[in-house]
């Protein structure tokens, strides 16, 4: 069986989403670096893998996939039984809740947290730019409203989709990890259940391993 190849970077948020799944299920894979600064993600070779010119992309034998959430689902289905069941596709009630909170991460949480990470970390560190405080402030208010809902949810269930850890929780890791390196990390202190949830699942071995691979970018 040929080795799974993941094209991406170990400190890139969407690549990390897939790395976490591969590590959780104990899959053997090779991480093939794609250099964004040299424009490798827009090279013909990479566009053949991902026509949107983004990372990650995954090759498994003859199959090529892109979009980290699609790749995550593929990996978790392929290695089902080998690692923890993070999709719960055998139980429609449970899998529906995984899907709900996966989309909450994509459409409610991420749009609030990623501009804060971009303005306060990526823009100054990678592009030498100045953070736009008004963007940060507007999105902090949005994030707090989202965290209000998360706090209520996580006081009723241990994890987002229910009392089981799932892809929905995992999907939050990379942007939140970067957020914790911004000056605004203490926002989470006002949400005790959210904070406990974060500390719980980030102590899983797969998360420690992927965090270590971020190489000082956190």
């Amino acid at each position: 069986m040929s080795l799974i190849k993941l094209y991406g970077m170990p400190m890139a948020t969407c690549t990390m989403r897939v790395l976490l799944c591969l590590e959780e299920v104990g899959a053997k894979y090779e991480l093939v670096p794609i250099s964004m600064p040299t424009g490798e993600h827009k090279s013909p070779a990479h566009l053949a893998r991902n026509p949107f010119g983004q990372i990650p992309a995954l090759e498994d034998g003859d199959l090529t996939l892109f979009e980290s959430r699609a790749i995550a689902r593929y990996v978790l289905r392929k290695f089902k039984g080998q690692g923890p069941d993070l999709l719960k596709e055998g139980n429609l009630s449970e899998s529906a809740m995984v899907d709900v909170w996966l989309d909450v991460e994509a459409h409610q949480y991420n749009p609030a947290i990623s501009p804060i990470v971009y303005q306060s970390l990526i823009l100054p560190r990678m592009y030498g730019g100045t953070p736009d405080q008004s963007i940060i402030d507007t999105n902090l208010e949005k994030l707090k409203k989202v965290l209000d809902v998360y706090e209520a949810r996580l006081s009723k269930s241990k994890y987002l989709a229910g009392d089981f850890f799932s892809l929905a929780d995992l999907s939050h890791f990379s942007y939140t990890k970067y957020f914790m390196a911004t000056p605004y990390a203490s926002v989470f202190d006002s949400y005790p259940h959210v904070k406990a949830w974060w500390e719980d699942f980030t102590s899983r071995p797969a998360f420690k391993k992927v965090a270590a691979g971020m190489g000082g970018h956190q």
Partner: protein, 210 residues
Amino acid sequence: MAIKVYGLTLSNNALRAIAVLNEKGLDYELCPVDLQSGAHKKPEFLALNPFGQIPVVQDGDEIIFESRAITRYIATKYKESGADLLPDNSAKFETWLQVESSQFYPAISAINFELLIKPMIGMTTDMSNVEKQAEKLSAVLDVYEAHLAKNKYVAGDVFTLADLNHMPEVFLLLKSPKAELITSKPHVKAWWDDISARPAWKKTAASIPV
């Protein structure tokens, strides 16, 4: 008890849920949510969706929000009813389902909101935002054009949920001054002409007040 859909037939996201129910030939009750009066922020609605957004679907004891979670749930639970929208274990299907959500939806929904919704609710269209989003959408649709030149539907040879999830936004865009973003691309237009001719879609489209 019939499936309940909390939403409006003007809402892009609620239409996704309605479209899948029509494809499955399922009976449902549309429970309108009066957004103008703030009904979606009242406690009774927040008990259904704590994020205060439509649609929400109630199916027996299940209460589901986020339109794409809803469409996947309906397509899975009622797989044997109406058209089968889920190919078994297709990597291309999962990829293009996600492409709609991450690449296509942000730009097209922004354009539709600016051009169609804002005038209805007494807000002013931001034309510079429209142009910015139109540029993004055009680049995304270039990829779709190449993809649909080799694939009849986004996931391959058959119509699936991956096509259906696109439909409300395309319908709305075609009613706007930016319709040419779709109509100028021959394979994208041919794809739309095919999928919008489906009887279930015609039923959905007839309910859209635009």
